[in-house]
Symmetry: C2
Subunit: 382 residues, 2 copies
């Protein structure tokens, strides 16, 4: 069965103080419907990816909330998997199509974070960590800093090497009108920025963002009103312990290895077949690990490959994070996994505008929850 990306939309990512969660959701759902050429009446079910609406907004039961916004009393579901809520919502939506229960469904990823005090947001995000980590006063920057320190020592990677990752992603975001940060930065800017959690600096960290993304997927060819529509050919999930202490290694996100190996096996494709990828660069170190875990770089070479000019436009091989990634496009938690898949779809469908990856026909989206507790990998083809 083919799962088609019938239509989709992404909001601007950033500090969207002037719009409510409902209005934000409505804007991307309406736009995705227009893009798909479908009416709301064609939607059989709704899947919502969101992490923090309960903790920050005291609004749970989001399936009904957003079904109401869609204006359709269709079966609706809310999935929560920390920063992978979007990817996990899409995975479950795909299961419902493969099951034959629903034919055409809408997946909404949404998060409103900047309306709340930063301390509340940071405490809320730590709900994705373990009891021990919260008890120790760790933040997510702190968790990834431990991974970065371990990685840098093992592979002799400098702060400057790692800084090449956010520099690349800001360069990409320049051509993405939806991105939160379109400013260009240098390695020196990164190194001079404030330390957040040694060795990670401010410009190694993805921001707190508001945003939403909606994608309509269908198993029914008759629902396709556009030409050149991509298909999702693999949707796989990996799981690991919620806290770092129980992981086999700090140098690998095993959940990403597991999810990507299943996705490659499913599609009979290899890492080198990927022409474009959106990977979960919540911190610079996270992209370095992702490049290795997904098979784009050899072990210990992720940061060096970016430093050496790979993973970007004009280089041979895969272009990674053409949207600007979490770092520069922004990271509205529940929206991220959905936006990543949409970025791949629009690249394959030649709708990338000034950030179009040339001739891309195969791509991958990689979404991580917590410090690697959950990972989703979607492969798209056209």
């Amino acid at each position: 069965m083919n799962i088609f990306t019938a239509g989709y939309a992404v909001s601007n990512f950033g500090e969207l103080w002037g719009i409510s969660p409902r209005s934000l959701a409505r804007s991307v759902m309406d736009e995705a419907l227009v893009h798909s050429g479908l009416e709301a009446g064609s939607i059989d079910a709704l899947f919502v990816g969101n992490m923090l609406s309960g903790v920050l907004g005291n609004q749970e039961n989001l399936a009904s909330v957003y079904a109401e916004v869609l204006g359709r009393n269709v079966p609706s579901f809310r999935l929560e998997a920390a920063c992978a809520s979007g990817g996990v919502a899409l995975h479950n939506a795909i299961q419902s199509l493969l099951a034959g229960t629903y034919k055409t469904v809408l997946v909404l990823g949404i998060e409103k974070m900047t309306d709340h005090a930063q301390e509340e947001v940071l405490a809320g995000l730590m709900a994705a960590g373990s009891d021990d980590e919260r008890g120790a006063g760790l933040t997510f920057a702190g968790l990834y800093a431990m991974m970065a320190r371990s990685y840098m020592e093992k592979y002799h990677v400098s702060e400057e090497d790692l800084a090449c990752i956010p520099v690349k992603n800001h360069k990409h975001a320049k051509n993405n009108p939806k991105a939160q940060f379109r400013s260009q930065i240098t390695v020196e800017d990164v190194i001079k920025s404030a330390r957040i959690a040694d060795p990670l600096r401010l410009l190694d960290c993805s921001p707190i963002s508001d945003g939403a993304a909606a994608i309509i997927i269908t198993a029914d060819k008759k629902m396709l009103k556009r030409k050149n529509i991509s298909s999702i050919t693999a949707s796989e999930v990996g799981i690991d312990s919620v806290g770092l202490a129980k992981r086999v290694s700090l140098l690998t996100i095993q959940a990403s290895v597991d999810a990507s190996e299943k996705a490659y096996k499913k599609t009979q494709l290899k890492p080198k077949d990927m022409q474009v990828a959106e990977v979960h660069d919540c911190f610079s170190i996270a992209e370095a690990l992702a490049l290795e875990d997904l098979g784009f770089s050899k072990k210990g070479r992720g940061a060096f490959d970016v430093r050496d000019g790979k993973m970007t436009f004009g280089a041979t091989g895969v272009v990674v994070n053409p949207s600007g990634g979490l770092k520069a496009c922004g990271h509205p938690v529940g929206a991220t996994g959905v936006k990543q898949v949409i970025e791949i779809a629009l690249q394959l469908e030649r709708d990338g505008g000034r950030r179009q990856v040339e001739n891309a026909s195969v791509g991958l989206a990689h979404n991580v929850g917590g410090s690697g507790a959950v990972s989703t990998v979607h492969i798209l083809q056209i």
Copy 2:
């Protein structure tokens, strides 16, 4: 494809202050594995139903948390749908089996509520209501009280009539060793109990509870190690607006009507074919409405039917809430929907002990989220 209830377990429901969420989850998952005769290695995926762990315990990312407890890094998912989180988790688990992606999965419903201050719990529960309802200072007792007042006036139902529902459910719970309240109550006890939200009194309200329930479902006959195993033959979801103000009527939970009509159509069964049912009696009025919405009683007759001695052991027709229901067995939010399905499975499999419904071969479980924003209906057969 048949979806078999390979094995299951329910914890005691009540104030379980001496056990952590992880230990509680482990106890029911281990017991369900033993009951099924399977090892944890046979489980392909885990689905978790929970509402309040983020708001009350600052622990999200529950899929990974409980995969770790299970001891298996299998794809895992957390569904949140207020008090219907358990039913919705089961629905998504079933989709994954129908899709052929997973063969044997475990569905865990869990909620720990009594460790927290009652004010926090009540505020957290209102996250299942609408902005307007929270702004008006409404509680869930208040929302159901409005439905009760409307119902009582329209159909000339007295407080005494409505009180017959919790009296019946306490009578049933007497024979359920897992139930939170096994004490017997009279109509007079209900009427003399404190007013919570006029016209609902203390003994019209389900309690705040801790508890967990785990069910292993499989599409693979080779995984069945017991005899006389029931199948889930319909799993349907209905959705309505999150707040009462936008509903068509206060006298019907349309989401329950929608879900049950789909389930009856799917199985080609009728309400009168049901021999046993677990329905969502969070308040007395909720069971009266459920009896009508599910087609067991005529419109306006739900409370009268219970008063007249129906819906219980020895009467003709369906036995409703043999477990004691939410009122007397208890209502640990995320666990409820899973426990209801387990109660039907054990009734069909002749494991009901002193509360066995004689010769039951068809039953229904009905789980509601919020004040009717979401409803799930599962039909089981043997």
